[in-house]
Amino acid sequence: MELVVNILLGIVIAATPLVFAAIGELVVEKSGVLNLGVEGMMIVGAIAGFSVTIQTGNYLAGVVAALVAGALMALLFGVLTQTLLANQVATGLALTMFGLGLAALWGQDYSGKAAGNFPKLDIPVLSDLPLVGKLLFGQDYLVYLSILLVVGVSWFFRKTRGGLIIRAIGENHDAAHAIGYPVVFYRYLTLLFGGACAGLGGAYLSVVQTPFWAEGMTAGRGWIALALVVFAAWRPGRALLGAYLFGGITILQLHSQGFGVKVEAQYLSMLPYLATIAVLVIISSDRLKVKLNAPACLTQPFRAAT
């Protein structure tokens, strides 16, 4: 029983960075922008969060630094694609490479240092309950924030005028402009939000999950987050589910290695990625359904008609 709880705890911790990055990118894509730089924003968030936490010894300062760093990366993307109308795909790829390089440079002096344990929720009695206590009431604060964020984004898109405007801009930016909504302004906002979320996802890796810094430690999670958005058909709840699916397979394959399953470890390590790709392919096989959910203006540059 103790093992099951440990596995479940592991899944939550493996999934949370993906939840942050995916929910941020989901909002960005809903507004009709594809930012392929998630990986780059995550790793810059990771080193920013880690270095500030080490320097100040304050976790909150680290989290804020990660948010700001991710948002600054996204701002760079915004200036290039929204103001200067550069190609979104190429700019996103460049942003990832830039982020990986920048983080490596920034992190040179931090290799091998450790950040200590991130504060966890601790409610007397509840957190001490057997089995469920640790799972439900004993996680670190960011886990609860990630869940709240998913619920909040889902509510925002379904119930608020702001959410409606962003959906409308992603659906038909020319019409939105004709009615009088500032398309580029809203896209900057979603980009900043997405960047901050990706930065936070990165910081979760370096400050909470494995509290030390290693170059390239995001290991493709930004790409998985991008894939999850599509897998989830741009629905927040399903993005959460997808993140936990990926996290779950990651942890299960680790444990199965521990049990001495007679499969090469390398193959097991591939599993989460393969499973995610497989799910993606299956979901995308219904072209009509994917099209139905996809924001119609995704990746299209917007020029205001003069």
Partner: protein
């Protein structure tokens, strides 16, 4: 003259290379239906964008109810009681009717029981609407209702309508006019933009006529004839295309049991399409946009393959599974609807653009190598014979004006001497001169023995050039009946899908039931 609601004084606006509006002055009275008449490119759209706050004028001033009026954005114009129905609907297909309406309103107005108010206003004006339906699932006429209801919910004093009837059936136009007259009766002013003269004569109290960005005339449309209005609009007199009938020969193109599911989200499926086009005749396919024309065109071109090869036959040969170049080789050429991006590659030169479509029929390549000289000569021939105004065949297709590019595209296909030519919206959005030239060329092509199929939403055009007309509604095609046995009324009913004139023999049109 009723008291003026909106007055324009010396409005001017320039774009790089064009003076779109030049010293425009006129006024719209309270409760008046005022027409703004002009050709494509006369400056109508620029002017209404200025009134609606999308653009700002370089010079001139406007007054609304006697007070200066200079909106900086559409929300300011809306707050002053100006509503706009766009030519290309500003709707979001993946959102519901209610969401679409909420987006076009001030936040304060969108609160509360919006759905209830939508139902109330739409019933009051006889424009039934279900607020929970997805806009993508609505017909074009219903989409326009969404725009109108959105406008009405804001208690407008002036409604601007930009070419509102171009996508409607004649019956839907009647309903729209009823609504507009009623609104005018209630004191709401309407600025009605169109180039359809009969409509303006039937509906509008006053007309301001624009040409080349300037006001060239004002008149009372009911006192003018369509011809005199057209001459004011064009500044020249027009001769209608010659309409002597040709004797049709053998069947060149035969569609039989052509069914196809749409691949796009809100597309229309084709159901059991049957049609014959004979050598020497022009068959028109009428219909409101979005009733399957796009898919039918893709099926004819071969961008989407038919399920059975014999669903499409060319001179008896099944071509339903052939790719586009195979069909061209077999003798069928195409003029797709969208000239920039579909019929021609915008950033490629005219020479390169002729290679794309005429490579096979004009031997412009051999062993995978292009014969650029021959291609340039062919492009030059097209330019010369079709009077295309261009600086040279090595210039990009994008650099041509709409009318010139369309002449080039049509010429490129016609000069391949196809046995069948399929053209979709061949004169859409081109100036009257180019339109007349293209129609003349199609008629000449049919005279020379080609079977011509024209898909168009312009009923006047179809009546002017076709021998027979079929109607596509909801993905089904009616029988093609000779034009002289058809009235606009009957076509309109079929466009609405009310009468299914699916007779076997041509000429056996069912009488239309309202």
């Amino acid at each position: 003259m009723p008291e003026p609601l909106l007055e324009l004084d010396g409005i001017a606006r320039a774009f790089p290379g064009v003076l779109a509006n030049d010293d425009i002055s006129f006024s719209v009275g309270k409760g008046e239906i005022h027409a703004l008449l002009g050709e494509n490119g006369a400056g109508k759209s620029t002017l209404v964008k200025i009134i609606y706050g999308v653009l700002r004028p370089d010079a001139g001033a406007m007054t609304l109810r006697g007070k200066p009026f200079a909106p900086h954005r559409p929300s300011e114009a809306r707050a002053e009681g100006i509503g706009m129905i766009f030519q290309h609907f500003s709707l979001f297909e993946a959102l519901t009717v209610a969401e679409n309406i909420a987006l076009g309103m001030a936040p304060e107005l969108a609160k509360g029981d919006l759905r209830g108010r939508i139902v109330e206003v739409s019933t009051r004006y006889g424009l039934r609407l279900d607020p929970d339906l997805m806009v993508g699932d609505l017909s074009v006429g219903q989409r326009q209702r969404v725009e109108i209801v959105r406008c009405l919910l804001q208690d407008p004093q002036l409604i601007i309508m930009d070419e509102p009837t171009s996508v409607l059936t004649p019956q839907e136009v009647e309903v729209l006019f009823e609504t507009l007259r009623r609104l005018a009766g209630e004191g709401c002013s309407i600025l009605y933009i169109s180039h359809k003269l009969e409509e303006i004569r039937a509906l509008c109290d006053h007309a301001t006529i624009l040409r080349g960005g300037k006001v060239v005339a004002t008149c009372t449309p009911a006192e003018e004839t369509a011809r005199s209005l057209a001459e004011m609009m064009l500044g020249e007199s027009l001769s209608p295309p010659a309409t002597d009938r040709r004797t049709p020969g053998e069947v060149r193109l035969r569609l039989d049991g052509l069914s196809m599911a749409s691949e796009t989200q809100f597309g229309t499926d084709l159901e059991d399409i049957a049609l014959e086009v004979r050598s020497g005749e022009i068959v028109g396919i009428a219909g409101v946009a979005g009733n399957g024309q796009t898919l039918l065109m893709s099926a004819l071109i071969g961008e989407v393959r038919a399920a059975r090869p014999d669903a499409i036959r060319l001179d008896g040969r099944p071509i339903g599974r052939l790719p586009p170049h195979g069909r061209r080789k077999a003798g069928i050429c195409f003029v797709p609807e969208e000239r920039l991006g579909h019929a021609a590659v915008p950033d490629m030169s005219l020479t390169e653009n002729v290679i794309l479509s005429a490579r096979m029929r004009k031997n412009l390549s051999r062993n995978s190598f292009l014969n650029l000289q021959r291609a340039a000569r062919y492009a030059g021939d097209v330019v010369a014979r079709f009077g295309v105004k261009t600086a040279g065949v090595d210039h990009a297709a994008r650099s041509l004006s709409g009318g010139n590019l369309q002449k080039f595209v049509v010429g490129r296909e016609i000069m391949q001497e196809p046995s069948v030519l399929v053209a979709s919206q061949p004169t859409w959005g081109v100036d009257a001169g180019a339109a007349a030239f293209i129609q003349e060329a199609l008629i000449q092509l049919a005279k020379d023995g080609t079977a011509v199929l024209v898909i168009s939403q312009d009923l006047d055009e179809l009546f002017a050039i076709s021998d027979r007309i079929a109607v596509i509604a909801n993905g089904r095609l009616s029988a093609a009946d000779p034009v002289d046995t058809l009235t606009i009324e009957q076509i309109g009913l079929r466009m609405g899908g009310q009468a299914r004139g699916r007779a076997n023999a041509p000429g056996a049109a069912e009488p239309a039931h309202a």
